[in-house]
Each structure stands twice: as structure tokens, then as C-alpha cells.
């Protein structure tokens, strides 16, 4: 495939990147490495410095300190600052930032400058599946199509890295799922290293090969989506990625004892620990395994395909259990509660 970058895709290395605006620290010592050809997500709550990081990589902001390297090239170091137009980095903006005075082909050709030829424009438009609307004004396109024009425009000059800022936030929920899949396929076909920013955990976990979670301008944890979700490195991480119960426990010989019984532990741990349990691991029933705990149902929220059952343990502590929508549990029901699968623990504080 001709869209594939001729050389091996460049890796991205960021070291101790810092940027403040007035009194606010947006990026406070960020380290990140993205291997060539990978699709990586920068995930974090709003205001964590995701977009600033992206703009620093693109060269749209100057960092206060730190270095950015793309493959062998230093883009930003103490002494050098490569201007955005010479970075060979494609960017897809949240609102797409399409040129309203050009048609679809004109937008895609813009980045090719004098090297623009119809062949390349057509090739990229075919890649994103828009070759039939090449001569349409961009405002006549649907949101999903505009998104793909923005992607095609960024890919046309064969960049070494492509950055996407909240690429799906402007799309309807119904459209988002499909466009996500399209975008992943297009980026994979182009064989380019890609970094996208999102605040949507589901989006990051389902789309990216690697996820870097940002918190207050620093990387909190990097890993595959599975690692990030099932083995959060801090309680904050665990809470950020979904509802989680944190119970006190004692770990010994690969097991941990806590209020919900004795559970298997995957990581090495000894002594006082914090046990992280996600509601979907908390099982309930009229009868349970021998080491199950007694509990009382105190609340229930019904979501259709599942329900969240709130339980009160003998100690008075409340935990939640996410079950399928049937059977229905009701406040006042006496139940047995136990944990399915291994638990994740963090050193106790």
C-alpha cells in the first residue's frame, strides 16, 4: 500500500515537558514514549493538560522546559524549536478547522503545497472513503465526513506523526462508534504513529493500543488498555477508570483477607494493603459459596441491561454490585455476597 510511510514509522519521545500559563501549571514534567506505528491515547479529566501537551508536540505552543523527539529528530530541546510547519506532524482538531473557502479536494491538497498532484489527493480521499465528494464545499458534509476530511488533510503530506484532539467529541453518540472504527482502520492503513487526546475512558480503552493517563500535567500511568483497567497503579487511577470499592486488607502468600473474604491476588503483596474491587466483580445470590458474606440490599438503580445493587455489609460499610438486569433485587433482601476472580491490591497507606 502506497499510503504506508516508506520508512519504519517514527517513535515519539517526550522528556520532562513543562508548560505554565501565568500562574497555572498546564504540563508539569511529562514523560512519554510512543513506539513507531502505535495508536496511543492521552486520557485524562478536563484540565489535566492533554490538549496543551498535544499543542506542544505540534509546535503550536513553546514549552518552558523539556524535550520532544520524533524518531531521530529533536523537535524541541533547550536550544532548538522547530516551527510547526517543519515538524511533519499532522493534526486533526476537535472542531476539524477545515478551510471554509476550499472544497474537499482543496483542503486535502493544501498541505501538499506545490507538490500537490491529483493522484495523491485522490489516493488519500480514497483511503478515507470520500473520493466521491471531492469537489463539494466542506460545509455540505456531515459531521462524520468532515472528520474524515480533516483526517485526510492531515495524512496527505505523509506526516511522521498524527495528532488528534478529542477527535470524536463533536459527533453524535450514534455515529461515534462507527467513525471510531473507521478512523482506527485508516490510521492503521496509513501506518503512521498516532496520538489522540480524549476524556472518554471507554474511547481510550476501546480504540488505543496504548493508553497514557494524565493527571495534573503528568503521566499517572501508561500501559495497554487491559493493564490500565485491571491493574491501576494508584487509587486515583482506579477511581478514574470507573466505580471501585477500596477495602482494607491483609495480604499473605498470594491471597488477601478483607471484609469480602479471602481473595486471590495477582501481584506480589505482603502486609497491610488496599484492596480494589470493581462492582462487576461483586456477586450476590440467595445462596453463595462457603466463604460468602451476609449482606442486606439497601438500594438499587436499574439501567436496562444491568442494575447496580447497593449492599450493606455486617460492619455497616456499603459496597455496590453490578449485575445483569434480572433477577431484580429489592431493598430489604438478605443476600450472600462474594467476589468473583482475583482482586487488585495496592500497598496500604
Amino acid at each position: 500500500m502506497t499510503d504506508r510511510h516508506p520508512d519504519t514509522p517514527a517513535s515519539l519521545t517526550i522528556r520532562d515537558l513543562r508548560k505554565s500559563f501565568a500562574d497555572t501549571v498546564a504540563v508539569g514534567g511529562l514523560d512519554l514514549h510512543v513506539e513507531g506505528g502505535r495508536l496511543c491515547a492521552l486520557l485524562g479529566p478536563s484540565g489535566c493538560g492533554k490538549t496543551t501537551t498535544l499543542r506542544l508536540i505540534a509546535g503550536l505552543e513553546r514549552p518552558d522546559a523539556g524535550s520532544i523527539e520524533l524518531g531521530e529528530r529533536a523537535l524541541t530541546t533547550a536550544g532548538t524549536f522547530v516551527p510547526p510547519e517543519r515538524r511533519r506532524i499532522g493534526m486533526v482538531f476537535q472542531d476539524y478547522a477545515l478551510f471554509p473557502h476550499y472544497d474537499v479536494a482543496g483542503n486535502v491538497a493544501y498541505g501538499l503545497g506545490r507538490r500537490a498532484n491529483r493522484g495523491r489527493v485522490r489516493e488519500v480521499l480514497e483511503l478515507v472513503g470520500l473520493d466521491r465528494v471531492a469537489d463539494r464545499p466542506v460545509h455540505q458534509l456531515s459531521g462524520g465526513q468532515q472528520q474524515r476530511v480533516a483526517l485526510a488533510r492531515a495524512l496527505a503530506p505523509t506526516p511522521e506523526l498524527i495528532l488528534l484532539d478529542e477527535p470524536f467529541s463533536n459527533l453524535d453518540a450514534s455515529l461515534r462508534e462507527r467513525v471510531r472504527e473507521d478512523v482506527r482502520e485508516i490510521i492503521a492503513a496509513a501506518g503512521v504513529t498516532a496520538l489522540f487526546v480524549t476524556h472518554d475512558q471507554e474511547e481510550a480503552l476501546s480504540l488505543a493500543e496504548r493508553v497514557a493517563v494524565l493527571r495534573e500535567g503528568r503521566v499517572e500511568q501508561v500501559g495497554t488498555p487491559e493493564e490500565i483497567y485491571s491493574r491501576p497503579s494508584t487509587p486515583w487511577m482506579a477511581a478514574f477508570l470507573g466505580e471501585v470499592e477500596v477495602l482494607a486488607g491483609e495480604a499473605r502468600d498470594g491471597r488477601v483477607k478483607c471484609e469480602l473474604g479471602s481473595l486471590a491476588v495477582e501481584t506480589k503483596a505482603e502486609g497491610t494493603v488496599e484492596v480494589l474491587i470493581r462492582p462487576e466483580s461483586v456477586a450476590i445470590g440467595i445462596t453463595g459459596p462457603p466463604d460468602a458474606t451476609e449482606a442486606e440490599v439497601v438500594g438499587r438503580r436499574f439501567y436496562g441491561h444491568d442494575q447496580l445493587v447497593e449492599l450493606r455489609l455486617p460492619s455497616g460499610r456499603k459496597v455496590s454490585s453490578r449485575r445483569l438486569g434480572f433477577p431484580a433485587w429489592h431493598p430489604g433482601d438478605r443476600v450472600q455476597v462474594w467476589v468473583e476472580g482475583p482482586a487488585d491490591v495496592l500497598p496500604g497507606s
Binding site: 510547526p84 482538531f93 472542531d95 477545515l98 473557502h101 492531515a154
Partner: protein, 523 residues
């Protein structure tokens, strides 16, 4: 996003434009400071107080008159079942097209001592009509040709009114007249105030109409003082007093515009309002509209055509008209072109690189506009005779004066257009490998072109009508249509002024049409 440092060249250009725009104001201050005691004497003279009172009286009378005409006209043409109200809406707005000095000239030519009406009534034995000259004439001319400045915003405000408020008032048992007074009028106050202040500013700085009507307001006194004596400190001092008055009105206007933003209706669509039935008031309402249109539009235009045919019938040479029209076009085109270039520097700097420096540049850009045309010209006469003698009475100096005077007219639409271009688009272009100047040429410039065109049209429109600065600064023997009309009228040659006036209106028509299409004519 965080403010970024502007390119050095842009910063220098912006500062240069701001500095040049402030030159007339600064040099006026220097002149007065240099002769502080005689300037103070001139200011505290008894005559100055009289002039001030006369001027304030005229400003107040014209403003009240314009509001008195505009509000009923706006209400009739927006909210009632007035027959042919679309047509009336257009016809009542059109007098704005006639520069007040041309309007004044035509009123004088109609009602003046040697005018058309006098000629018509003389056979009936009426030797002398009451004089048009003085306060009445100036008031009439300025009111008739500025009231659309109130009419247009009030019509806009009336159209944006939420009819539910009136319906609610009606449901509470109020009668229509009460509702108009207690519900409608209070909501129109910002529009009336804004338009009224525009009329007041216009009247305060107007030179042509008052001088044709021989009414000694500030601007005419300044001109007389300038012409009469070698010691021009008196003119400068009077000019300074006038500037202070302008600044007070401008500050009021700025406050009102700021407040108006809070009054604006939400983005939701407003249900169309049912037209109020005029009933037996239909005929008086039609008569009112008819009289206004007759005096402010049909009479002047009719007279213009009448005098023009007279003139053509006499078979006079049109050579001088063609030459003067060429001069008008030359000055106005140069001012528009240079004004847009300067305004682009100011607009890009202030919109894209906000900082204390760019805010200062923007303020300085308005300095020339806050000064009445005659004061800009006066200050530059001092500057030319004392500092830049080689430039005095050159075309360059004239174009400079007119450009700095009207610069903000171009900054406005350009800045607005630039605000609508998201910076993301420019960043996207840079990410695609284009250098900043290339980005400006291929992305920004095409997207703000219509704003630039509107700015150029506005500057052109005002420059081509400009009178006092041209009178004071034009090279010797350099006449424009405006100065020609003024001189002929001042000497009572009404026929001779007709064709230049007609040509001037024709030259002003295309940019005016362009601006009305874009809806920026009143901005």
C-alpha cells in the same frame, strides 16, 4: 489560549499605524501646551461660552428632532398594518444617503432668499420669506438627514422585541397605549440612546451644513478663526473644547453599546408579531410618513434634478466637474486602500495577539476618529507649517488626514471578520507546512476579504464626501466635488452646485449599495 508574542514586523507596523493615527490629537495638544496662556484666554472668553451654548443647543435640538421623527416612523413601519410599509421603510431610510451639506444646500436653494420658493411666491407679492439661515436651517438640515441613524437601530430593536411580553401585559388588562409606554419604549431605550448619540456626534462635528446655513457653531467658528488670523491659537483652543465635548459623547456611546449587549434577545427564534391595526389613524400615519419622505427625500432629489437640468440647459462646460470628480475619486480611493492596509495591521495585532501594547494600538487607532474632521485638519495645518513644511498642502498630507480620520471605520469590519476566523484554522495551515505569511495569504486573507471590502467601502464612502479637511489641506487649486459644492453654495450659485452634487451621490451609490447588502451601513 495563551497570548503569544506577535511577529516583530507586525508589531512595528501596528505601533506605527497607532502612532500616526494619534498624530493629529497629539500635535493639537502640543500646540495648545506651547501657547497655554493665550489658549486659555481664548477658551475663557465670553464668546467661547456663547459658541458652546449655541452648539449644545443645536446638538440637543437635532437629537430630539431626529428621535421624534425616527421612533414613530420605526414603529409605524415595523409594527402596524401601514399600507406599503416595506416601501415606506426603504424610503424613510434613504435620506441618510444625502450628505448633510448637500441637504443643506438644497434646502437653501429651496427656501433661501434666491431660492425656488422665493421665485415662486414673488409674483404673489411676497418680497421676503422668513430666513432659512441660522439655527432653524441648521436644525432642519441636520435633523432631516441624520434621523435615519436613529431609525435603523430602533427598527432593529422593534423587530427583536419578544411579543410575549406585550401579550403578557395585555393579559394583565393593559391597554395598547399603556403597553407601548410601559413595555415597548423601555426596551427601545438602548437603541434610541445609541442612535441619538450618533446624531449628536454627527451634529457636533458637522461643518458643511452649519457653515452653509451660516450658523456659528464650534466648527464654523474654528474655520472662521483659522481664516481670519495669523495667530491660530484661538482656533486650536476652540478645537480642543470641541474635542472634549466629542470625548464625553463617545464615552457615553461606548458605555451604552456595552450595556446593550445585555439587552440582546436570546438566540431562540422570536415568533413573528401580529401587525397592530391602525384603524382610523391610517390616514394621519400615511400623511406623516408622506411629509417626512417629501421633505427629506423627494424635495432634495427633485431640486437636484431640477437644478441639474437647468444647468445642462445652459450648456455649461462639464470639464471642471469631471476634473473635480477625478480628484474626489483619487483621494477617496487612496484613503480607502491605505486605510485597509493600516487597519489590517491594527486588527490582526489586536485580535490575534492581545496584549497591553496591542490594546494601546487599538485605542490610538481611534484617536483620529474622535476628533472632528476640521480639528484633524487644523492640527495637521499646524504640523505642516511648523514641522513638515515640504508636506504642507500636498496631496499626501490630505490623504493622510482623511485616512487617519476614518481608519476605525476599516478596523471595525476587519476585526469582526477576523474574529470569525478561528485561530485553529490558521494553526491547521501551519501544521500542514505553511509559514506564517503564507498562512495569512492563503487562509486568513481570503476569509476576511469581505470584511476588508466592507472596511474599504466605508472609508471610501466617508472620504468621498469629506469637506472640512479637504478645504484646509488640499493643495492650492485642488478642488473636489465636496469643496466645489460648498463654494458654489456659499456664493449662492445653486445651479452650479447641482451637477457636482448629483455626481457625488452617484459615486457614493455603489459602495453604499455594497454596504447595505452586507448590512453594515450603520455599524
Amino acid at each position: 489560549m495563551a497570548p503569544r508574542r506577535p511577529p516583530v514586523l507586525l508589531l512595528l507596523a501596528g505601533v506605527a499605524v497607532g502612532g500616526l493615527a494619534a498624530l493629529p490629537a497629539v500635535y493639537l495638544a502640543i500646540t495648545i501646551a506651547g501657547e497655554a496662556s493665550s489658549a486659555a484666554d481664548a477658551v475663557f472668553e465670553r464668546r467661547t461660552l456663547e459658541v458652546a451654548l449655541r452648539t449644545v443647543g443645536l446638538v440637543a435640538a437635532v437629537t430630539v428632532g431626529a428621535i421624534g421623527l425616527a421612533v414613530p416612523l420605526a414603529w409605524l413601519t415595523v409594527r402596524t398594518d401601514l399600507p406599503a410599509r416595506r416601501l415606506w421603510a426603504t424610503l424613510t431610510t434613504l435620506p441618510l444617503v444625502i450628505p448633510s451639506y448637500i441637504g443643506a444646500y438644497l434646502l437653501v436653494s429651496a427656501f433661501g432668499p434666491r431660492g425656488a420658493l422665493q421665485g415662486a411666491v414673488e409674483p404673489l407679492g411676497i418680497e421676503r420669506l422668513p430666513s432659512i439661515y441660522g439655527f432653524v436651517g441648521a436644525w432642519l438640515a441636520l435633523t432631516l438627514f441624520t434621523y435615519p441613524l436613529v431609525l435603523i437601530p430602533v427598527r432593529g430593536a422593534l423587530r427583536r422585541l419578544d411579543p410575549q411580553l406585550e401579550e403578557a401585559a395585555r393579559a394583565m388588562g393593559r391597554r395598547p397605549a399603556e403597553i407601548f409606554r410601559t413595555v415597548v419604549v423601555p426596551q427601545l431605550v438602548p437603541a434610541i440612546g445609541g442612535g441619538g448619540l450618533l446624531v449628536a456626534l454627527y451634529t457636533l462635528s458637522d461643518f458643511g451644513a452649519v457653515s452653509i446655513m451660516r450658523f456659528d457653531s464650534f466648527t464654523r467658528e474654528i474655520y472662521i478663526a483659522y481664516q481670519a488670523s495669523f495667530d491660530r491659537t484661538e482656533a486650536a483652543a476652540l478645537g480642543a473644547v470641541l474635542v472634549v465635548a466629542m470625548l464625553v459623547l463617545l464615552a457615553l456611546y461606548a458605555r451604552l453599546r456595552g450595556a446593550r449587549a445585555y439587552h440582546r434577545a436570546g438566540p431562540g427564534t422570536v415568533r413573528p408579531m401580529g401587525a397592530i391595526s391602525l384603524g382610523r389613524w391610517r390616514v394621519p400615519a400615511l400623511a406623516f410618513c408622506g411629509v417626512v419622505v417629501a421633505i427629506a427625500l423627494l424635495l432634495p432629489v427633485g431640486l437636484l434634478v431640477y437644478w441639474s437640468t437647468q444647468q445642462l440647459g445652459d450648456g455649461l462646460a462639464l470639464g471642471s466637474v469631471v476634473g473635480n470628480a477625478g480628484n474626489s475619486l483619487l483621494v477617496a480611493s487612496l484613503a480607502a486602500a491605505i486605510g485597509v492596509v493600516g487597519a489590517t495591521c491594527v486588527a490582526v495585532l489586536t485580535v490575534r495577539f492581545p496584549s497591553p501594547v496591542s490594546a494601546l494600538v487599538e485605542r490610538l487607532g481611534y484617536a483620529g476618529y474622535a476628533l472632528p474632521g476640521i480639528v484633524v485638519a487644523l492640527s495637521l495645518v499646524f504640523f505642516g507649517t511648523r514641522v513638515a513644511l515640504p508636506l504642507y498642502q500636498t496631496l499626501a498630507m490630505l490623504v493622510f488626514a482623511i485616512t487617519v480620520h476614518y481608519l476605525p471605520l476599516a478596523v471595525g469590519p476587519l476585526g469582526a471578520a477576523l474574529l470569525q476566523v478561528p485561530p485553529r484554522i490558521e494553526e491547521a495551515a501551519r501544521g500542514l507546512g505553511r509559514r506564517p505569511l503564507e498562512v495569512f495569504g492563503t487562509v486568513t486573507a481570503p476569509l476576511v476579504a469581505s470584511g476588508g471590502l466592507a472596511g474599504a467601502a466605508l472609508v471610501f464612502l466617508h472620504a468621498v464626501k469629506e469637506l472640512p479637511a479637504t478645504l484646509l489641506l488640499a493643495p492650492i487649486g485642488f478642488e473636489t466635488l465636496a469643496t466645489d459644492i460648498w463654494r458654489q453654495t456659499s456664493s449662492g450659485f445653486f445651479e452650479a452646485a447641482a451637477i457636482p452634487a448629483l455626481v457625488l451621490l452617484l459615486i457614493a451609490a455603489p459602495p453604499l449599495y455594497l454596504l447595505s447588502e452586507k448590512g453594515t451601513v450603520t455599524s
